[in-house]
């Protein structure tokens, strides 16, 4: 087991290295010249040339990459072209807020999604199933921007139960988590429903009922744990999916996370920030997958760690 974890960590390190290289090269391929961006619209050719030299942008791409790596292992992610502040500080300042939002969104998704999925599976083809199906599909198809503003409008403006965006208390966390999590809840509900239907039809369920075990016991002790497997796989995926949702949700609710940082950087081709955010989110994704793979055998003992 320990060997497995160590091996995976090593592999993850290699993957991150690969991602950093690919990202760096992609950024290098973008025709926009960072020196011109920094030098601004009124700069002379000399200023631009001078900035290029100072940032080492005239060196071949691999040299620049290794220079970046060298700094990275010392914890230096460079300075943002736009904000001049250190990237590591920019990210560290905003990461906790995004992590908090992501975790609470995942919790929301699981609670909402699993409940809906289980109820739908148990009431299959009846009215509740149809109604919940519509709910799931609306959650999946509706743009998160629209959902966010609608929720804000109803709960913060009309009823005034919750603050109009912002950060700091639990009350501030509710609407953003709900908005971010609704999409995933839709997915989880459908996957759970499908998975449960599969499990409900299996022999051992009938056997258990035949033995006289109560329906509810069967469901809780046997059906759900077996059905939940694909959901575990999906939580790992979520972290990746979240990145796009986070940009929208954070800006609607004024949540000071890295989504805003990332989007601004992408629009303005702020290379050091894009590198930093990509590496950080890649780390989160890879670790998330590792975690999901480790939990899976715990849920389903048949799965072996090879």
């Amino acid at each position: 087991m320990r060997n497995y974890v160590l091996r995976r960590l090593l592999q993850s390190g290699l993957i991150l290295l690969g991602i950093s290289l690919v990202t760096f090269i992609l950024l290098y391929l973008i025709p926009a010249d960072p020196a011109r961006q920094i030098a601004g619209r009124s700069a002379t050719a000399e200023t631009v040339a001078n900035i290029r030299a100072q940032l080492g942008l005239d060196d071949p791409v691999m040299i620049q990459y290794f220079r970046y790596l060298g700094n990275l292992v010392q914890g230096d992610m460079g300075r943002s072209y736009l904000q001049k502040a250190e990237v590591s500080i920019l990210i560290a300042g905003r990461l906790p807020a995004s992590l908090l939002l992501m975790i609470s969104a995942i919790v929301t998704e699981l609670i909402l999604g699993l409940t809906v999925g289980i109820v739908a599976a148990l009431r299959r083809n009846k009215f509740e199933d149809q109604a919940l199906m519509i709910f799931s599909f609306v959650s999946i198809s509706a743009p998160q921007f629209v959902i966010g503003i609608l929720l804000l409008y109803f709960f913060s403006i009309q009823f005034q139960w919750l603050p109009i965006g912002g950060y700091g208390t639990f009350a501030h966390l509710i609407l953003p988590s709900l908005t971010l999590g609704l999409l995933g809840a839709g997915w989880y509900s459908r996957m759970m429903r499908s998975s449960m239907i599969d499990v409900l039809h299996q022999d051992f369920v009938r056997t258990a009922r035949a033995k006289g075990i109560a329906q509810s016991q069967v469901i809780v002790r046997h059906v759900i744990p077996n059905a939940i497997l694909p959901i575990i796989a999906m939580v790992g995926i979520d972290i990746g999916l979240f990145m796009s949702g986070i940009v929208v949700v954070e800006s609607v609710f004024g949540w000071p996370g890295i989504g805003q940082l990332a989007w601004q950087a992408i629009q303005r081709i702020d290379i050091p920030v894009i590198m930093g955010v990509t590496i950080v989110s890649a780390t989160a994704i890879v670790l998330g997958n590792l975690l999901a793979d480790l939990i899976a055998p715990w849920i389903d003992p048949r799965i072996k760690i090879k």
Binding site: I38, A45, N50, I157, I164, S251, F253, G257, Q260, I266
Partner: protein
């Protein structure tokens, strides 16, 4: 019909009178205001900050030798008590005021002025504004990294500084009013190093009290400020990270006082149709022009007949209607509020049949295909599609390339990539209120280089010479003559038609009832969105 609407709109607005804003001496001191922004503040270092968000924030934290009368484009002495210009226009001498201090308490001396100017022109600072000081003697060598400073800047005594130019330049005093010419204390810069942009220390009406990244920036009044009674407000809070639509909701609920990003286009009509809200919206002009550039180096735009035809094909009234009347159609490069604007110039008429005929005369009776580059933020793609339809009406099939800002700028900076660009979102807003600012980088030969902003790659050497001549008219008595020279230069540019000027955007500032002041302070051409230094709170005692 449309003009009536605009007139009506102006009537609704809270407009102040006359050219100079009346600073209300009786207004109460104290209170605070909240401004909302979506993007994080990039930097507050006056040598670096060059976006429209931090430009006026820096103006409130820092002062330079020159400044502007509030709410106007009229130059005035700021940190200088007086200034003189030599007869040949080459030597400027400034005398500093008494009792002017930095936020850290130290008194400002002429040595600080020399330090600040050398810092911004030092190549190591990487300032985007270094080029503005090109007229100072010794700039070329210092900016190339040689020598130990700007030889043209001399400290005469503690309160007197002399600046020698390498050529007479009529825009010099405007340059001294730019943020880049702000005076900074050496000890604070040395202490903060590269983080001076996060820990700014200046001598402006406000000082930085708090900066929580991604959330808020707070300014508080500097009580050692050299103008009595300024600022009126005790503090200004900038709330960061808010989507403009949500910011508007907050303003409507009384939780914000003005919108840094303006009224979102989607809610504009809703706000203006509600008398309770529209009475708090002030409309003003901006030193802005939105235009289509045509690359004079890419066929068939190298043919002036084609460019004229395009000028005649664009339905500017319709485009202004599509953006709910938030602009005024334009027929020349300069905006109406800029000195040098040609009021009587008619420009090219909207005449699509005439345009088609002109294309036929140029041998392109069947039209041609081309590309139109545009920045992807609303409302620019819409405007581009309206332009596309107008071009199609005269036989030009334009494919739209909808890209991130940096990509459009990069394409424009290459001579063979972007045949047409709609400038929206990157349109030129003047750095300072002088006609020469609209020329050099975007229409002059100096800008027609790789990475330049002269996206039409237009280079007319004769006009360049006339521009330099106009800028050498430093004698204040020749102001009218200089203006006329510039006016003629821009009219002559329109004969070559490298651009299609489309509209000049109007500014609409929505304020809460908790802040007040002369109308012009809310549409101050130099301080966007509002002039924080002179606005007062209606809630203070």
């Amino acid at each position: 019909m449309f003009k009536l609407f605009l007139a009506g709109l102006t009537g609704l607005a809270l407009f102040g009178n006359v050219a100079l804003a009346q600073v209300n001496e009786n207004a109460p001191q104290g209170g605070s205001m909240t401004v909302t922004y979506k993007d994080d503040v990039a930097t507050l270092d006056p040598a670096i900050g060059y976006d429209w968000q931090n430009w006026s924030m820096i103006k409130s934290l820092f002062d330079g030798l020159m400044g502007y009368e509030p709410g106007s484009t009229q130059l005035r002495n700021e940190l200088s008590a007086s200034n003189t210009i030599s007869a040949d226009g080459m030597v400027h001498v400034f005398k500093l005021k008494n009792g002017i201090k930095f936020h850290n308490g130290r008194e400002i001396t002429a040595a600080d002025v020399k330090y600040s100017l050398e810092r911004v022109t030092n190549p190591k600072t990487q300032s985007p504004g270094a080029g503005f000081f090109g007229m100072i003697d010794g700039f070329d060598s210092w900016n190339a990294g040689q020598g130990s400073g700007l030889s043209g800047v001399k400290v005469i005594d503690d309160k007197t500084i002399e600046i020698r130019l390498s050529r007479p330049d009529a825009t010099f005093l405007h340059v001294m009013a730019l943020n880049f010419a702000s005076i900074v204390p050496k000890e604070a810069v040395d202490a903060a190093g590269e983080d001076f942009g996060r820990k700014p220390v200046g001598s402006g009406a406000f000082k930085l009290a708090e900066w929580t990244p991604g959330q808020r920036v707070v300014f508080e009044a500097f009580d050692g400020y050299h103008r009595a009674g300024v600022p009126k407000l005790e503090s200004v809070t900038f709330e960061i990270g808010l989507e403009p639509m949500v910011a508007l909701l907050r303003l409507q609920q009384g939780m914000a006082d003005t919108l840094g990003d303006g009224i979102p286009p989607a809610q504009f009509m809703q706000v203006m149709n509600d008398p309770n809200q529209s009475k708090n919206v002030i409309e003003g002009g901006q030193l802005h022009t939105g235009y289509i550039t045509m690359n004079t180096r890419m066929a068939p735009f190298d043919n002036v007949m084609v460019r004229k035809a395009v000028n005649m094909a664009i339905n500017k009234e319709r485009i202004v209607r599509i953006i709910n009347g938030r602009a005024v159609p334009a027929n020349q490069p300069l905006p109406p509020t800029m000195p040098g604007y040609a009021k009587d110039y008619k420009g090219y008429p909207f005449d699509q049949d005439g345009a088609k005929k002109m294309l036929a005369d140029a041998g392109l009776a069947n039209g041609f295909s081309t590309e139109l580059f545009v920045y992807n933020t609303d409302p620019n793609p819409r405007i581009a599609q309206a332009i596309q339809q107008d071009l199609a009406a005269i036989g030009i099939k334009a494919e739209i390339r909808n890209l991130a800002q940096a990509n459009v700028i990069a394409a424009g900076g290459e001579p063979d990539q972007a045949p047409m660009i709609w400038s929206g979102g990157m349109a030129w807003i003047a750095d300072f209120p002088d006609p020469s600012n609209f020329y050099g980088p975007i229409l002059g030969c100096a800008g027609a280089v790789q990475g330049g902003w002269n996206w039409s790659w237009y280079c007319n050497e004769a006009l360049d010479a006339r521009a330099a001549e106009a800028d050498s008219m430093t004698d204040p008595s020749k102001t009218a003559e200089r203006e006329a020279a510039w006016r003629q230069i821009y009219v002559d540019i329109m004969d070559d038609a490298p651009w299609v000027p489309v509209f000049n955007e109007q500014r609409f500032t929505f304020r809460s009832e908790k802040i007040d002041g002369d109308g012009t302070l809310f549409v101050d051409p130099v301080h966007i969105p509002v002039n924080y230094d002179y606005i007062f709170s209606t809630q203070a005692k």
